[in-house]
Amino acid sequence: MYIHEYQSKRLLQSYDIPVPRSEVFTQGDSIEKFVANFGGESWIIKAQVHAGGRGKAGGILWVNTKEELKQQINTLMGTRLVTKQTGEDGLPINTLLVEKPAKIAREIYISLLIDRSTKKVTALASAEGGVNIEEIAATSPEKISSVDIHRSTGVQGYHCRLLAQNLQFNKPQFKQFAHIVRQMYALFLEKDASLIEINPLIVTEEESLLALDAKINFDDNALFRHKVIADLRDASQENPMELKAKQHDLNYVKLEGNIGCVVNGAGLAMATMDLIKHHGGEPANFLDVGGNTDEERVTHAFNLLTEDPSVTSIFVNIFGGIVRCDVIAQGVLQALKETELTLPVIVLLQGTNAKQGKNILKDQHELLFPVSNLTEGAMLAIEKAQG
């Protein structure tokens, strides 16, 4: 699960990690009252959306007067921010973070995540923080220090020394850094985070460390034991169709193409998209109805796909296991009736009772095209999608 920057910073602050002084403006707040309470002379307004690349997209603004502050809050609030990560629709701006600008001497990078190859929590640090960190990782990986943290030991002094080896801290700064690493790790463990990234962690002109931007992601599978974290979810930042899918226990991701896919199993769903692309088509979505799907889920899946105006054909690819293909075939027929579908539906049923399933679908509907293998299915879905 993703949360907003302001939420991440509040969490960091609650773990005694220094963040800039800030105020949060949300919909319904009185702008006069908000601005009146502000001290200082200049501020940074940061649009709170679940995407990177906000600065270049105009979602981070410097203002120097209260009048300007008011003006820009009014301009940003309620609009949608389009960044390189959001897609062309962008994401709604419902919250703004207004921060006191920090005086930056230099920018550092630090993060914690789980390294699937070592099966440990890993810390990464670099003396060159900021937006070009991935480029640094690709061109000069030696500039990034990394170290695994064992669960049984937690953060030791050597972890911090290794991470700080190129960071050129003085003694008090190192002490502050070690404290930040320990606290980040405590937060990571206690809240089941999957990523904590402070980028940049700055050294201010006053020589102390400050978390200027932060990203914290959480393990969806662990939210059942963190109500406080689960409550931070902002549904307005999620694709409405993806949200709806989630309510029906469907794993759905919207894509750019026109061939709707209904598949059981995440691996097979990906492989089906690959197959369509391989033959020159474009999948409209990733949709996993679950390894053990049933009629009802198939109906929900059809309902979902009919709401996507870009879908011009539907490819149903089900491998019957515990759930038999004849049951799925009945489900497809049922769904066709219920949704009054006007799109061609290509159906591939394999595995348990595949033949019976295919017989059920035969000559039942003019828009229904049962197929016998993967390639045939993908090619026909592409052909029918073109109208």
Binding site: D115, S117, K120, A137, R151, F224, V263, F319
Partner: protein
């Protein structure tokens, strides 16, 4: 022969009285698997599906010789169940459960490292030696005993690979699971197939993400003499929308389908670019 399990394998089922545990134990018994005991805390002393139920794994292993334990415990308690099986020194643990918190698996893998147990999964269909022993949720009837070994990260893709190799049959099929942290990996399974006399060729089904397939490619190059047919799912998957930078840094830009294909081709594996071609590639091996 098969790998890890056979007709004789004595199986314990953790979570046997739950709906998943009940259903798949029944299916396993019908298939001929040797399920000899179950565990559900609080239900010790009862029998379920004619199988004796115990409160703890240790109690069950005091009463029976156990070779493998299969876990159908819900996600919040599944790591606990795996750790309990490790404590009781069960040689092979198969965890079917989906949705275990990843940090629970970090803890499990620390304990697993210093133990004698092997773990398959979590979030996997399990393992089957066709016509001998089925441990997990795969549909038994699509399998046939034969000479192809299958190892896969994805459940339904394993079934597709089974379906496409039905002319040959399978020695053993293992779903190692799709979670970021899991037990047995491609390399261990490849090594077992390499030394298994019944296996003449191996089908490996990978996915994007991580570097397990690249590492497997190195192993294939250095230590596998049997032909390997490999497919990687996810070439068309869009990149994560907001992963932060850390994921990209740690993988060093690796983990794409193309990287994996290149590594596997360099290692001499027979790669196929769509899952529809797996069967054909196996047929072309002239086994």
């Amino acid at each position: 022969m098969s790998i890890l399990i056979d007709q004789e394998t004595r199986i314990l089922c953790q979570g046997i009285t739950g709906s998943q545990g009940t259903f798949h134990t029944q299916q396993g018994i019908e298939y001929g698997s040797n399920i000899i005991a179950g565990v559900t805390p609080g239900k010790g002393g009862t029998t379920h599906l004619d199988v004796p139920v115990y409160n703890t794994v240790r109690e069950a292993s005091n009463e029976h010789e156990i070779d493998a334990s299969v876990i159908y415990v819900p996600a919040p308690f599944a790591a606990d169940a795996v750790l309990e099986a490790i404590e009781a020194e069960i040689p092979l643990i198969i965890c079917i459960t989906e949705g275990i918190p990843v940090q629970d698996m970090v803890a499990v893998s620390d304990v697993l490292e210093t133990s004698q147990s092997n773990l398959i999964g979590p979030n996997c269909p399990g393992i089957i030696a066709p016509e001998q022993c089925k441990i997990g949720i795969m549909p038994g009837e699509i399998h046939k005993r034969g000479n192809i070994g299958i190892v896969s990260r994805s459940g339904t893709l394993t079934y597709v690979a089974v379906n496409q190799t039905k002319d040959f049959g399978q020695s053993t099929c293992i779903g190692i699971g799709g979670d970021p942290i899991h037990g047995l990996d491609f390399i261990e399974c490849l090594a077992l197939f390499e030394h298994d006399q019944e296996t003449d060729a191996i089908v490996m089904v990978g996915e994007i993400g991580g570097t397990a397939e690249e590492e497997a490619a190195e192993f294939i190059h250095s230590a596998v003499s049997k032909p390997v047919v490999a497919y990687i799912a996810g070439a068309s998957a869009p990149k994560g929308k907001r992963m932060g930078h850390a994921g990209a840094i740690i993988s060093g830009g690796k983990g794409t389908a193309e990287d994996k294909y290149q590594a596997l081709e360099k290692a001499g594996a027979h790669t196929v670019r769509t899952l529809a071609e797996i069967g054909e590639a196996v047929s072309n091996l002239s086994l």
